[in-house]
């Protein structure tokens, strides 16, 4: 057995060095930088377009001099409740002109700049809202209601009836159920994304050996299972280097730009440090499991075109596993979650979500052993298929069946 792993280590070492010690690896390592630059440029452009549109579109309330300050302070209170992305258009409070307010409202709505989406006029207990489009009218209606209530309660602008005091509960450190689910989903997504990005490369890993005939040397010296394990470990080393580089770079970047508060807070039932360790372990398992499938299927291919054709079904399978695990993350403890945790190829993703929602440690030990078993089974099947399908070793399936029948 030590020989098995020693040979796997030799192959892993060769593969790791062959990938890392090339200029193309630098391109591979920095590829996310291009993605980030493009995302930032795209995001900035989109946000500028949205903010420019938001500046142009407004809502208006024609109010008496008594009601105007109250409307403005109520608007400020209500506006705070909205997230920035869905905040209502800016409110312009326009002094009332008595009987002409309806005409003024119509004129405002018809004006091109500023572009009013809705205009409120009339008394607060029976306001009229002219609207053009969007949700501005609903907001104006709610604003009138609330302002009237404040007025009837005799509140001065900016005054409040209550002063809520926030106290931390015992479960605050682990976060509430929603925060834990968000953490779980985040883990599922991160593992899926990294696996999708990195494990897919295993599909062409035996192509080099097949094209330059080194496979004959490897097959003569080591069991094919050992060759497959070595190839996977080599690629996993590359993946770890990649992930570590970006975690360190991202962590340092966030800390420098925003201070320690910029780092995301983890709400995990099992505790943040254990959760992180489990995420690393589940990433390793997801990589090995899906990598073994990619490697096994890719090993059957004889041309690059075949390799590309074969990649698609596995990627679809990978996305399906992500979908299953995502559903499990959203429904902790459900039958779907249990299935996703047990099904070997979705198990690493679903168990990472479970770590965020459940404090028990033993299911993770069992799951890691279960996944390790399936890594071994997948490699064994992949190597067996390669031995029979490519090396043509042993009796063919038909003659084997015929012999069994006889």
């Amino acid at each position: 057995m030590s020989g098995f792993f020693a040979q796997a280590r030799v192959i892993a070492r060769r593969d790791f060095k062959a990938v890392v010690a090339t200029p193309t690896f630098l391109l591979f390592l920095l590829a996310p930088l291009f993605m980030i630059v493009m995302a930032v440029l795209g995001g900035t452009g989109a946000s500028q377009a949205v903010s420019s549109a938001q500046d142009k579109v407004r809502i208006a309330a024609i109010a008496s001099p008594d009601d105007a300050p109250l409307l403005q302070s109520t608007d400020a209170d209500l506006r705070r409740l909205y997230p920035a992305e869905v905040r209502p258009p800016r409110l312009d409070v326009i002094p009332s002109h008595g009987k002409d307010d309806a005409q003024v409202a119509k004129a405002l709505l018809a004006a091109a700049n500023p572009d009013y989406a809705a205009v409120l006029h009339g008394p607060l207990n029976a306001p009229t809202i002219l609207r053009e489009s969007g949700s501005g009218a609903a907001y104006l209606s709610e604003l009138a209601e609330q302002t009237l209530r404040n007025k009837q309660a005799g509140l001065a602008p900016g005054a409040r009836l209550s002063r809520p005091v926030a106290e931390e509960s015992d479960k605050a450190s682990a976060g509430n159920a929603q925060a834990r689910q968000v953490t779980g989903y985040g883990a599922v997504f991160a593992i899926f994304f990294l696996t999708l990005l990195l494990a897919g490369q295993a599909v062409g890993m035996l192509a080099e050996e097949k094209s330059n005939k080194v496979i004959e040397i490897l097959a003569a010296a080591a069991p094919l299972e050992s060759v497959f394990v070595g190839k996977l470990l080599g690629m996993f080393g590359v993946a770890l280097l990649f992930v570590s580089f970006w975690i360190v770079l991202g962590g340092v970047g966030l800390a420098v730009l925003t201070g320690a508060s910029g780092l995301p807070e983890l709400h995990a039932a099992i505790g943040a440090p254990v959760f992180l360790l489990l995420c690393v372990a589940y990433f390793a398992m997801a990589f090995m499991l899906l990598g073994a499938i990619f490697l096994g299927v890719g090993a059957q291919a004889s041309t690059m075109r075949e390799i590309q054709m074969m990649s698609l079904p596995i990627t679809i399978f990978q996305v399906a596993m992500f979908g299953l695990a995502s559903k499990a993350a959203g429904q902790p403890g459900s039958a779907t979650a249990r299935f996703a945790e047990i099904f070997p190829f979705s198990s690493p993703f679903a168990m990472a979500a479970r770590a965020a929602n459940d404090a028990a440690l033993w299911p993770h030990v069992a799951a890691l052993l279960w996944q390790l078993l399936w890594v071994a089974i997948t490699i064994w099947i992949s190597a067996g298929l390669f031995r029979r399908g490519v090396l043509k070793s042993g009796p063919g399936l038909l003659s084997f069946l015929r012999r069994r029948k006889a």
Binding site: G3, A6, Q7, V10, I11, R14, A18, T22, E208, E209, N212, K213, V214, I215, E216, I217, L218, A219, A220, A221, A222, P223, R387, L391, K392, S393, G394, P395, G396, S399
Partner: protein, 324 residues
């Protein structure tokens, strides 16, 4: 059990497997789809010997070697390699040069040799050190840090051969080791093989070039049509054919044909024929008495090439008859 038509050993059956027989195989059979690549081949290679597996192209030599090494499993039959029924268990004591050469083009020569040694259990650092020594002795000392892709085909082939012996294996299996090499490198490879044998290694190599086999092999097997057709020493192989005579008559050569054996062939100057079972004396007497005289007479043992052609030719004829 496939019976050899030309079996020069004392017994038809294989010897029992012991330490003196690093390679042993019995009735190996391998089909690829409907084609039979190897059909009941048995081999027994004594320790410390240079053993040749000869055969025409497509005879099943490579498939036989790959089965012996455990790269592929036979459909039926059994094999033992250095005492192990599972050849893989002996892989650290075996060196192998495949017919289709394979090296990583981006690797440096020294690393490539050390890598092949490491696969067979040799420490990387020791592998690198030995690689340097081996390349020096092979005249490639200047290229230890050259990448494989920057080497000529012959140099790369030598590097691969050095990689197959860097861990000092007990058994070295070479599949068509001379193909693609120029005469100088062929000579170099021959001396390298002799050196490994002198070190105590057993060498098993396949070839269809008879001159190498004739110079190197102590024993050999001839495979044709997936079956073993001969097993024995080079002399025993040559003994398959009778002595060859070359006769030059003093005059009227064409009339001498009536006295010569029926298979005699005239090449315009001399007659060539197999020496009759009873010897050439009676024939010579009758030629002299008939007035043809003897201007020249040469008698020689046939070469391995002729024996090979005869054995393979007979095998093909037998197979064709059997197919009918």
């Amino acid at each position: 059990m496939v019976r050899c038509r030309y079996h020069a050993t004392t017994s038809e059956g294989m010897r029992s497997v012991d330490d003196d027989t690093p390679v042993w195989a019995s009735n190996l059979v391998k089909h690829f789809g409907s084609a039979t690549a190897v059909n009941g081949v048995s081999l027994s290679v004594p320790r410390g010997m240079i053993y040749g597996v000869l055969g025409p192209n497509g005879a099943g030599k490579t498939t036989t070697l790959r089965m012996l090494l455990g790269i592929i499993d036979p459909d039926s039959g059994s094999r033992r390699l250095l005492g192990h029924s599972s050849p893989r268990e002996a892989s650290q004591r075996v060196g192998y040069l495949p017919e289709e050469r394979g090296l990583y083009p981006a690797m440096k020569a020294r690393e490539a040799i050390a890598f092949m040694g490491a696969l067979r259990g040799l420490d990387w650092a020791e592998g690198r050190r030995r690689a340097g020594d081996l390349m020096d002795s092979a005249g490639l000392g200047h290229a230890v840090d050259r990448k494989i892709r920057q080497m000529s085909k012959g140099m790369a082939q030598l590097v691969q051969l050095l990689g197959s012996i860097v861990h000092r294996p007990e058994l070295i299996v070479l599949d068509e080791p001379f193909s693609g090499l120029d005469p100088v490198n062929q000579e170099h490879l021959e001396s390298l093989i002799r050196g490994e044998c002198a070190r105590g290694a057993t060498i098993l190599f396949s070839t269809h070039v008879m001159s190498h086999a004739e110079r190197l092999c102590e024993r050999l097997a001839i495979i044709a049509g997936g079956k073993r057709r001969f097993e024995g020493t080079v002399d025993e192989a040559r003994g398959v054919l009778p002595m060859q005579a070359q006769y030059i008559a003093c005059n009227r050569s064409d009339e001498a044909a009536r006295l010569l054996p029926p298979d005699a062939r005239f090449d315009g100057r001399s007659w060539r024929f197999d020496v009759p079972d009873g010897g050439a004396e009676k024939l010579l007497m009758s030629l002299i008495e008939a007035g043809h005289g003897v201007a020249g007479l040469t008698m020689q043992r046939p070469g391995l090439h002729d024996a090979f052609v005869r054995i393979v030719g007979d095998a093909r004829r037998d197979d064709a008859e059997a197919a009918r």
